[in-house]
Amino acid sequence: MKFETNTIGPTSVTTTMQMVLLALLPGCLIFIYQNGWGSIINLVLAVLAAITFEALAVTLRKRSISSTLADYSAIVTAVFIAICLPPLLPWWIPILATGFAILLAKHAFGGIGYNLFNPAMVGYAMILISFPTELSLWLIQPDGFSHSLTESLHIVFNGGLSVIPQWDALTGATALDQHRDLLLQNSAPIEIASQTKGLFGARHSEWINLGYLIGGLWLLKKRVINWHIPVSFLATLAVCTLLHNLMAGNTLSPGLNLFGGATMLCAFFISTDPVSAATSNRGRLIYAALTGFLVYLIRSYGAYPDGVAFAVLLANCATPAIDRLDSWLSSHER
């Protein structure tokens, strides 16, 4: 006789990671649809690199390769990196980002469960700082598949989009990029809105965000994640944006902020990474609120149009302090 309970979430780390990958699917497919072959190439390169680097690190650390690779965590990291990258990058950039994430951010700290920082965000932030030009070149959306596979491969293995003479004609700014440029030019709010607004969020990327939202809600339902981080993160971001608009005139609409850039990806997938988040549910509320506030600050005043990666990494830094604060709070409440 087996005594079973139906009130629990995933039964193994492998299942958790597989469910995360499954939940990424809707957003991921829309992302690929909008960005074409280039994003598929990024995805393949990153996943292959992740598996190779993970195997290498595990061998160096004298652990069992099969059981470590079987937890899918390296693949999840690779997918996170790939869906943050613009298409048609030089081939070595996704590999470099993944290698940095797996080797330095993950295994140098002791492997899965011990990393202080979200590995995917470490990898992404590193290349974002190192190659700002390459990482700001997005193809004109949503016509991602206008370049054939062979053409895309040719670009990727010959230095990427930025070395093609006519790259300027092929690329278009993302909504958040455009928003930032228009802001710097002191454009009228109405003009900004007309250029960046989609149906309900940021132009084009609202659909990707919607996909991640659907996947994230499924994760919530399956008890892979708790509601605390997404709700706290999104609420803080929305409240900050609204207050900002009330005080400084409309600059960044809540729709653009919530359904633009990597907001939903961060809310349900990146900041919910349990390893680098705070421990208790109360701690996680604080942690996610901090992340949301930092995203708002970077988007409104910072040098980067999106800022999710830096916000998550900064909040990761604060995690031990939040944990201490939380245990202090709980020791004083009873």
């Binding site: 139906n6 979430g9 193994s12 020791s331």
Partner: protein, 476 residues
């Protein structure tokens, strides 16, 4: 009232109370502090006390009639003669409250929920120190794999209710609550039918571990802090049944109902105390190469086939061992979501290796009730509860060591002080002695001087009387 976390298990069908053929040999454990009143070779009757009634330790009785074959390590083995000749006893009528306590002791009653705390001790300590507020009767099963109490309520409700009334009289409690889980529908109906008006029936959610006594107390009364803090007592419902049998029928605790779980069914078997597990295996036709867990699937412990049923064996689980390898904790927090005590198991786990006593006590390790909910939900298959039990033992060991060290230090300091005062005393003695010596020296000197003076005087006298003498003439 709802508890935090916990786990809802599916309720499974279980069998009515049945018996198996009486064992040919029993091994009865006796309390280590009791005096054994029989010796090897004695013939005993069924129900005959094996230990002396004089000590406060729990008494043991022969569960079969036959010959004692061996006594070792607090275990008495009896070879049955197959007759089950009963030991003479006469049920008393018109029993007063303090006699219930005596009868509970004489009949070897212990709590049958799993902890096996002596009933008489519980009753007497409660009545000695304070008045009992609430008597809580635990009719909620303590483990999802145990159904013995539910079966007992369904089949023998009158006797149970009589037992509850006796327990209420003996404890002198001002009110009495029976707590039961909501999924035990038939048992609830039976209790509703038989319970008198002054005993309240509280139905609690069927969420493990609501059968833990302090948790159940909180669920039933809404009071926090636990039983002892609220001056309350808790008895398992099967214990009440044994109180009824002991008081009204003068029957010692010779058997108990054990839930036997095999791969294909759940049975409730009334087993004699001391029945070897092999007898159960034989009767149930179960394959022997399975692991045997005693005490439920959540908090149970592994036992060997040589184990024999004792008073706290509430269940036997036969299942094939599944070996899951633990992987690193990913801090997902599933454990914290199910912890009924609002603890952070993954943080506790982090501080068990390397062991950090102060961090563990900050995280309230001692509040852990070892319910093992966290083990069930952990996606990394970490046996958290085992780590916590280990850490508790380490802390206890450290405490004992520290106490020892403090005692040793105290002893050492006392010794130093003693030596000091001793040497001081000796020095004083010596001083006094030397003083005396000096004094005596002075006296002697004085004496000598006096003698010398007297001598001189007498000499001078002599001189003046004897006139001039050549030898004595003073120098000139």
């Amino acid at each position: 009232m709802k508890i935090h976390g916990g786990l809802a298990f599916k309720s499974l069908p279980f069998g009515a109370i049945e018996t198996i053929p009486p064992p040919t040999r029993v091994a009865i454990k006796v309390a280590s502090k009791s005096t054994i009143a029989v010796k090897t070779g004695d013939t005993v009757l069924k129900g005959q006390p094996l230990t002396s009634v004089d000590t406060s330790a729990v008494m043991s009785h022969a569960s079969v009639s036959g010959t004692i074959t061996s006594i070792n390590n607090c275990t008495i083995s009896i070879q049955s003669d197959g007759q089950d000749t009963p030991y003479p006893s006469s049920p008393q009528t018109d029993i007063r409250a303090n006699e219930i306590l005596t009868l509970c002791h004489q009949n070897g009653l212990v709590g049958l929920g799993g902890a096996a705390y002596p009933v008489a001790k519980k009753l007497s300590s409660a009545s000695q120190h304070n008045t009992v507020n609430t008597l809580l009767i635990n009719a909620a099963e303590c483990d999802p794999a145990i159904y013995c109490d539910e079966a007992l309520i369904q089949e023998r409700p009158e006797a149970i209710v009589k037992g509850i009334k006796l327990a209420l009289t003996a404890s002198g409690a001002s009110n009495c609550i029976v707590g039961i889980e909501e999924n035990k529908i038939l048992a609830i109906a039976e209790l509703k039918k038989h319970l008198p008006d002054n005993i309240k029936l509280v139905v609690v959610p069927a969420i493990y571990p609501s059968g833990a006594e302090n948790t159940l107390f909180t669920l039933c009364t809404g009071k926090t802090g636990g039983l002892r803090y609220n001056q309350s007592l808790c008895f398992n419902i099967a214990t009440c049944y044994s109180i009824y049998k002991a008081v009204e029928l003068a029957e010692p605790l010779l058997s108990r109902i054990v839930t036997v779980v095999t791969s294909d069914n759940i049975r409730n078997v009334e087993l004699r105390i001391g029945t070897p597990v092999t007898d159960v295996l034989k009767d149930l036709n179960t394959v022997g190469n399975q692991t045997i867990t005693c005490g439920g699937q959540m908090m149970g412990r592994r036992v060997s086939a040589e184990h024999s049923i004792d008073k706290q064996t509430n269940s036997l689980l036969f299942n094939t061992a599944e070996n899951k390898t633990a992987v690193a904790c990913i801090r997902c927090g599933a454990c914290a979501d199910v912890c009924p005590e609002h603890l952070l198991p993954q943080q506790l786990f982090w501080h068990t290796d390397p062991h950090n006593s102060s961090a563990l006590s900050n995280l309230k390790l001692d509040a852990c009730i070892e319910c093992a909910c966290c083990d069930v939900v952990c996606p990394s298959n970490i046996q958290l509860t085992q780590h916590f039990i280990g850490a508790k033992n380490t802390i206890e060991l450290q405490r004992v060591e520290q106490k020892k060290a403090e005692l040793a230090k105290e002893r050492y300091e006392k010794r130093l002080a003693r030596l000091e005062s001793q040497s001081l005393r000796e020095r004083k003695k010596l001083d006094r002695k030397s003083d005396k010596l000096i004094n005596s020296k002075d006296k002697e000197q004085l004496k000598k001087e006096m003698i010398a003076k007297a001598l001189q005087k007498s000499m001078r006298k002599k001189k003046s009387t004897s006139g001039n003498s050549a030898d004595d003439s003073p120098p000139q």
